[in-house]
C-alpha cells in the first residue's frame, strides 16, 4: 500500500498554488489535511501527477467573526472548530457535529475546506454547509467568486470548483433569533461515516414554526436538503405529530443506496427517525432561546 510516484509542490501563497494547479490541469490535486487523499493514494485509487501542498500558506486557517456570522478559513482544522468559542456561541451545531468527525487524531489534521471540497455525502461539514446556506468562496486563475452551498455539491465527490480553483473560505451567515438546532447521526461505530445523519434548524414565532431547514447526510450522492419536509413545517405549530410527518416526508426525499453496512431501506427509515428527533431537539432549543 504505497502511492505511485507524483510531483510535489509546496505552495507559499494562494497565487502560487493556483499557478501550480493551472500548469497541470486535471492532473494536480490539492494536499490539505490529507485525511482522505493519502489513503486514496496508498490504495492507488488516485493517481495524481502532482500534489500541491497548501499547508504552508499563511493566514488561510483563521476562524473570524463576520457580521453576526463566522468565516472559516479553508485550512482550519476540525479540532479548531470543535474548540472555537466563537463557533460554540454562534453555531453550536458545528461544535456538536465536530465530535462526529473521525477521531481526535483525524480532527487534528483534517481541514474544514478539505472536507467540503472532497464533498463526501456522509461527511458532517458538507451537510452543515448546506443546512446553514453557507457562501463558499473560491479563488482561481479567473479571480475570486462566491458559490452558494446549494450550487456547490454537484454529484458524488464532485463540486462546482474548477480544476485550478481553490476553496479559500466559507461564510456562515448569522441565524435569526429564536432559532434552535438539532443534530442526529448514527454510524456503526463512533467516528465512522454516517449511516444516516440529519441536521435541522427551527425558527419559532411563538409556538409557530417561522422557518425550518433540514439537511441530510449519507443518504444520497450529495448532502441533501428536504424541501418538501421544510415546506410542510413552515407556518404550523410545532408538535410531535408534525415532526413525525416531516420525518416521513424527509425519508421520501432522501435517496440512499445499499452498501456493506446497511440497506437503502434501513437508511431511509433512519432518516425518518433522525429527522423527527432533530426537529424535536431544535424546536425545544428555539423555544428556550
Amino acid at each position: 500500500m504505497k502511492p505511485p510516484a507524483f510531483d510535489y509542490v509546496c505552495a507559499r501563497s494562494l497565487d502560487e498554488a493556483i499557478d501550480a494547479l493551472g500548469r497541470r490541469p486535471g492532473e494536480a490535486k490539492i494536499l490539505a489535511g490529507g485525511q482522505s487523499l493519502t489513503p486514496m493514494l496508498n490504495f492507488r485509487l488516485a493517481h495524481p501527477g502532482m500534489l500541491v501542498d497548501i499547508n504552508r500558506i499563511p493566514g488561510i486557517d483563521a476562524i473570524r467573526d463576520d457580521d453576526g456570522g463566522v468565516r472559516i478559513g479553508t485550512l482550519a482544522r476540525h479540532r479548531a472548530i470543535e474548540v472555537s468559542d466563537s463557533i460554540r456561541k454562534k453555531f453550536p451545531i458545528l461544535t456538536a457535529a465536530a465530535a462526529h468527525v473521525g477521531h481526535l487524531a483525524i480532527r487534528n489534521r483534517g481541514t474544514f475546506g478539505g472536507s467540503i471540497a472532497h464533498a463526501d455525502p456522509a461527511a458532517e461539514w458538507p451537510m452543515l454547509a448546506l443546512l446553514l446556506d453557507a457562501q463558499i468562496e473560491a479563488k482561481g486563475p479567473q479571480g475570486a467568486r462566491t458559490i452558494p452551498a446549494r450550487e456547490f455539491f454537484t454529484t458524488f465527490l464532485t463540486t462546482a470548483l474548477g480544476d485550478a480553483e481553490i476553496l479559500t473560505e466559507v461564510k456562515l451567515p448569522a441565524l435569526p433569533a429564536k432559532t434552535g438546532w438539532g443534530f442526529e447521526e448514527l454510524s456503526r461505530r463512533p467516528g465512522d461515516f454516517a449511516l444516516a445523519a440529519v441536521a435541522a434548524i427551527v425558527t419559532l414565532d411563538g409556538k409557530t414554526i417561522k422557518d425550518a431547514r433540514i439537511s441530510m447526510g449519507g443518504v444520497g450522492g450529495t448532502p441533501l436538503r428536504a424541501p418538501g419536509a421544510e415546506a410542510l413545517l413552515r407556518g404550523k405549530p410545532a408538535d410531535a405529530a408534525l415532526f413525525e410527518q416531516a420525518g416521513k416526508k424527509a425519508a421520501e426525499e432522501s435517496d440512499p443506496s445499499n452498501d456493506v453496512h446497511a440497506t437503502a431501506d434501513y437508511r431511509r427509515h433512519l432518516v425518518s427517525v433522525l429527522t423527527r428527533r432533530a426537529l424535536t431537539s431544535a424546536a425545544e432549543k428555539a423555544a428556550q432561546g
Partner: protein, 818 residues
C-alpha cells in the same frame, strides 16, 4: 473404557471418580499424584515484566528490521475469485529500473512443493480430501487475493509499481460463493479432482437421538448464520528472509506463532537442509491463530533469497491482511433441540456447514472449524443423545482457517441461543433452564456425549456466581420498571466449557500427523544464580516471560527477575509447537515446572553433599536451600549454583553444570466460564448498547490472575467484534467487499464496555501444576450472551425471536421487530 480414579491434593472441590456413560474418544492420561507447588510467585498477580519495553516502543517487530542491501517484495494478487491464467507477461515489470526479479507460479512450482495436508486415519469419523496449495498460483486462481506473482525491487514503492506493470491474460470462470449452493450437484468445482466441494464430512453420534426426540414435549429448530471474519491483528504478517553465505544457509524472520513448524515446512517445500535454516520469531503484534500456519509468502521469500542472494522483506499491508491472509468462523448452523415441558434437555441435532474458502491451510486444515463445532456443541449441559454433523465446504473465497476459539463460537451460539428459544417456548426463565441442565463440579470427570473427556469443571457454580454478580433477580425488576418508561433492557447468559491445550492424546486420536501436542523447556543456571529459560512455545502477548518466570521462581527458589526468557529462535530453543489453542500455560508451563523440578533435585543433591545432610531433609525457603526446620543451616541459590557450575563441587557420581530439559506430552484440560450481558436496545433504530458485562471463569490454578483477567478482557472485545461488527462480505461473483478497516469493522475501545470478573479455581487433575488453558473462552462466549440479551430486550415488542445471523448490526436488530 473408564479412566482410573484421579486424586489430587489441595483441591478446593473433591473430585470423585464415577462411572462414565460414554467411551472417551480422546484418552486421558492421568497425571501422577503431584504436590502443589509452594506458596510462591505461582498464583501472584505480578505485573508483566515485558510490558515496559513495549510501552516505550523498544520492540523488534519484523517491520523495523533493516539489513544491508535489503530488497522489498510485493505480490500481484488475483482480482478474480475463479479464473484461468492464460498467460503472464512480466517483461514491462522487469524493465522498470529498480525491479530485480519477478517470480511466477510456473517457475515457483518447479522448486517449491505446494502446501498439502494428508489426513487418512483418525479415531474421529472424518472423510477428508486433500488439495495442493501452491505458493504462487499455477494456471488457475481460486480466490480474490491469491498470489499470482512476486516482484522483488529496491523498495516497496518500486515493487508495487512493478506489480502494476505485470500483464495477465485472464479467463474468468464461474465462481462458487454460497456454501449451501456449493453442495448442490453439477455446479462449479473449486478442486475438480474431488468430484464435489466437500473438503471434510463428519458425523458425531451419541446415545439414541431419534428415541430422545420422540419423547420430547417441544422441539425447537433454528438456523444461525455466523459471520465470516478474521483475526486482523494490529501487526499483519511480515517476513524477512536472508541467504547468509557465511552460514551457507538462510535466516527467516517471520511474524509467526510457530517458528519450528515454519522451519520444518520451508525445508520440506524447498528440499533444503533443515539444519541450515534458522527461523526467528521476533516480537509479534498479535496472532490469534492467524499466524500459526506456514504461508505461501514465507515459502516465496525463502525461495527468492536463495536466488538473489540478498535479504528480502515483505510486510503485509492491511488490504492484503483483509483479503490475502486467512479468514475464519464462516459457519451455517442448523440445530434442533428436544426438551420436556419441565425444561429437561432430551436430545440435540446439529449440522455445521463451514464455508472454508479455497485451500487447505497447514497444519490444521480449515475443517477443524465445523468439526470442533460439532464436537463441542453440547457444552456444559447434561445431554445424552446427539447427532452432530460437520461439513467443510470449499468455495472461491479467501481460505478460512483457525482463529481464537476455532469452531467453538459457532457451537456456543447454536447451543446457547437455541436454549433460550426453548426456554421462551416453554415459558421458563433462561437462568432456570440452564440451572436445570448444567453440570456441577461433582459430575466430573465425565466423558461428553460427543466423546470429549471433561477432567473437571464448575459450570453450575460458575453460573450461580455470575447470576449473583449481575444481581439477576434485581435486574428483572429493573427491567420491568424500565419497560414502563419505554426503555428496553435485556439480559443474556452464555455458559461454556472450553477445550484447552489440545494435547498429545488429542492429536493422536485426531490422526492429523501435521501437528503434535507436546512442548518443551530448557533451563540453564549460571554460576551467579541467574537462569536462562528457553522454550518451544511462542509468546505473542500472552505474558509467558512473566508467567513462566513465576513458575521457575516457584520451582527453584530464584527471583522472577533472575530469569532470562528466550523463545522463537530455532537455533537456540528446543523444538516445540508454538502458541495456539490455549496450550502454553499447560504444555509450556508444565514443561517449565518439570524442568525446574529437575534443577531443584540437582540443587538438593549438591547442597546435601556440601552440607553433609540427606537431600530428603532439604527444602526451598526464602530463596535458600535449607535443612527443614533448621533455618540457620542453608545455602543460597547462588552458592549452590557456584558450587555446581563454577567450582564443580558436586558429588563424585554427579556431573558439573546445572541444566535441565523437559518435553511434556500435554493433556487436554477443560476450563469453564459464564458470561452475562445486560444491554439496552433502541427499538426504533436497532442500536444496542452493552451496559454491563460479567464473566466468571474457572481455569484451574491461575499462574497470574492479572494475566487471566487480561486474556478474558481481550477475548470479550473480539467476541463483541463477532457479535456486532466484523463481517467479510462478497458479491455474487466472489469479489470481496471489505478490504479496508472502513468497511471491515473491528470494535474500538468505545464499543467495549467495562467488565467484571469472578474466579473459581479448581485445580486440574490431569495437568502438571493443576493448570488449565483459558486463552479462547473470552472470545467464544460473548455473541450468544449479547444475542440472548437483545432477544430478551425486544421480547415485549414482538415475542422472543431468535437472531439468525451475525453480526447484530443495528439493521439486523431493527429487523427483529420491523
Amino acid at each position: 473404557m473408564s479412566p482410573p480414579a484421579l486424586r489430587i491434593r489441595c483441591a478446593r472441590q473433591a473430585m470423585a471418580a464415577r462411572s462414565l456413560p460414554f467411551s472417551p474418544l480422546i484418552a486421558a492420561r492421568p497425571q501422577k499424584e503431584f504436590e502443589m507447588p509452594t506458596a510462591g510467585p505461582f498464583g501472584a498477580a505480578v505485573k508483566r515484566v515485558e510490558d515496559p519495553r513495549f510501552l516505550v516502543g523498544q520492540t523488534s517487530f519484523v517491520e523495523g528490521m533493516v539489513l544491508p542491501n535489503m530488497l522489498s517484495v510485493a505480490f500481484l494478487r488475483s482480482p478474480y475469485a475463479h479464473a484461468k491464467i492464460r498467460s503472464i507477461d512480466v517483461s514491462k515489470a522487469l524493465a522498470l529500473p529498480g525491479v530485480v526479479r519477478v517470480l511466477t507460479g510456473e517457475e515457483a512450482i518447479k522448486r517449491c512443493k505446494p502446501i498439502r495436508v494428508e489426513w487418512k486415519e483418525s479415531k474421529f469419523e472424518v472423510d477428508f480430501k486433500p488439495c495442493d496449495y501452491p505458493a504462487i498460483a499455477v494456471e488457475r486462481t481460486r480466490h480474490v487475493g491469491e498470489i499470482v506473482a512476486a516482484v522483488v525491487a529496491e523498495n516497496r514503492y518500486l515493487a508495487e509499481d512493478g506489480v502494476e506493470l505485470i500483464e495477465v491474460e485472464w479467463e474468468p470462470l464461474p465462481a462458487v460463493v454460497d456454501p449451501e449452493k456449493a453442495l448442490e450437484k453439477g455446479g462449479t468445482l473449486v478442486h475438480e479432482e474431488w468430484g464435489d466441494n466437500v473438503m471434510l464430512h463428519s458425523h458425531i453420534r451419541g446415545g439414541d437421538v431419534e428415541g430422545a426426540f420422540r419423547q420430547a414435549d417441544v422441539v425447537v429448530k433454528g438456523r444461525f448464520a455466523m459471520n465470516r471474519h478474521c483475526a486482523a491483528p494490529m501487526e499483519g504478517r511480515a517476513v524477512v528472509a536472508n541467504y547468509d553465505a557465511a552460514q551457507n544457509g538462510m535466516t527467516v524472520w517471520t511474524s509467526t506463532q510457530m517458528p519450528h513448524m515454519v522451519r520444518t515446512k520451508i525445508a520440506e517445500a524447498l528440499d533444503y537442509p533443515e539444519h541450515r535454516i534458522r527461523v526467528i520469531g521476533p516480537d509479534v503484534g498479535g496472532g490469534f491463530g492467524l499466524k500459526c500456519h506456514i504461508f505461501p509468502e514465507e515459502l516465496a521469500l525463502s525461495l527468492l533469497t536463495l536466488d538473489v542472494k540478498r535479504p528480502l522483506k515483505w510486510v503485509e499491508d492491511r488490504r492484503e491482511n483483509l483479503y490475502g491472509s486467512y479468514h475464519a468462523k464462516d459457519d451455517i448452523c442448523y440445530a434442533e433441540l428436544a426438551v420436556k415441558n419441565d425444561g429437561t434437555i432430551l436430545g440435540l441435532k446439529t449440522k455445521f456447514i463451514g464455508d472454508v474458502g479455497a485451500y487447505t491451510s497447514y497444519p490444521w486444515t480449515p475443517s477443524f472449524e465445523p468439526l470442533q463445532a460439532a464436537m463441542a456443541v453440547p457444552g456444559p449441559y447434561k445431554i445424552h443423545h446427539v447427532h452432530c454433523e460437520a461439513l467443510a465446504v470449499a468455495t472461491n473465497k479467501t481460505t478460512s482457517s483457525v482463529y481464537r476459539g476455532v469452531g467453538l463460537p459457532a457451537a456456543q451460539y447454536t447451543m446457547e441461543h437455541i436454549l433460550d428459544l426453548a426456554a421462551a417456548k416453554i415459558g421458563m426463565d433462561p437462568a432456570e433452564i440452564r440451572r436445570k441442565n448444567i453440570m456441577k463440579s461433582s459430575d466430573f470427570p465425565v466423558t461428553s456425549v460427543t466423546g470429549l473427556y471433561y477432567d473437571s469443571a464448575t459450570p453450575l457454580e460458575s453460573l450461580d456466581m455470575a447470576l449473583e454478580m449481575i444481581k439477576y433477580p434485581e435486574f428483572r425488576k429493573e427491567q420491568e420498571a424500565a419497560r414502563k418508561q419505554g426503555k428496553y433492557l435485556g439480559i443474556g447468559i452464555s455458559a461454556m466449557i472450553e477445550m484447552t491445550t489440545f494435547g498429545f492424546e488429542y492429536w493422536r486420536a485426531a490422526g492429523l500427523k501435521s501437528v503434535t501436542g507436546y512442548d518443551s523447556a530448557h533451563l540453564r543456571v549460571d554460576p551467579n544464580g541467574g537462569v536462562t529459560l528457553t522454550v518451544g512455545t511462542f509468546n505473542h502477548g500472552q505474558g509467558h516471560p512473566t508467567a513462566y518466570a513465576q513458575l521457575v521462581a516457584d520451582g527453584i527458589g530464584c527471583k522472577i527477575e533472575d530469569v532470562t526468557f528466550i523463545q522463537g529462535d530455532t537455533q537456540m530453543t528446543p523444538y516445540g509447537w508454538g502458541t495456539w489453542g490455549s496450550r502454553s500455560a499447560v504444555a509450556g508451563g508444565g514443561a517449565v515446572i518439570k524442568a525446574s523440578e529437575k534443577i531443584r533435585e540437582k540443587m538438593f543433591r549438591v547442597a546435601a553433599n556440601l552440607m553433609e545432610v540427606s537431600a530428603q531433609d532439604l527444602e526451598l525457603k526464602d530463596g535458600k536451600v535449607q535443612v527443614k526446620g533448621v533455618p540457620g543451616k542453608s545455602m543460597t541459590i547462588r552458592e549452590v549454583a557456584q558450587a555446581t557450575v563454577y567450582t564443580a563441587d558436586v558429588p563424585d557420581d554427579d556431573e558439573p553444570g546445572l541444566e535441565a530439559s523437559y518435553y511434556y506430552k500435554a493433556p487436554t484440560p477443560y476450563a469453564n466460564s459464564t458470561h452475562i450481558a445486560v444491554v439496552e436496545v433502541d427499538p426504533e433504530t436497532g442500536y444496542t448498547k452493552i451496559l454491563r458485562y460479567v464473566v466468571t471463569e474457572d481455569c484451574g490454578r491461575m499462574i497470574n490472575p492479572m494475566i487471566v483477567d487480561g486474556q478474558i478482557a481481550g477475548g470479550v472485545a473480539q467476541g463483541i467484534g463477532q457479535a456486532m461488527f466484523e463481517h467479510h462480505q462478497f458479491d455474487e461473483s466472489g469479489q470481496i467487499l471489505t478490504t479496508s478497516l472502513m468497511d471491515y469493522l473491528i470494535p474500538s475501545c468505545a464499543d467495549v464496555p467495562p467488565m467484571q470478573f469472578g474466579h473459581l479455581e479448581t485445580p486440574c487433575p490431569i495437568s502438571v501444576g493443576g493448570i488449565k488453558g483459558m486463552g479462547e473462552g473470552g472470545a467464544v462466549a460473548p455473541p450468544p450472551a449479547i444475542a440472548n440479551a437483545i432477544a430478551d430486550a425486544l421480547a415485549p415488542l414482538a415475542g422472543w425471536k431468535p437472531i439468525g445471523r451475525l453480526p447484530m448490526s443495528p439493521e439486523v436488530v431493527r429487523r427483529q421487530i420491523a
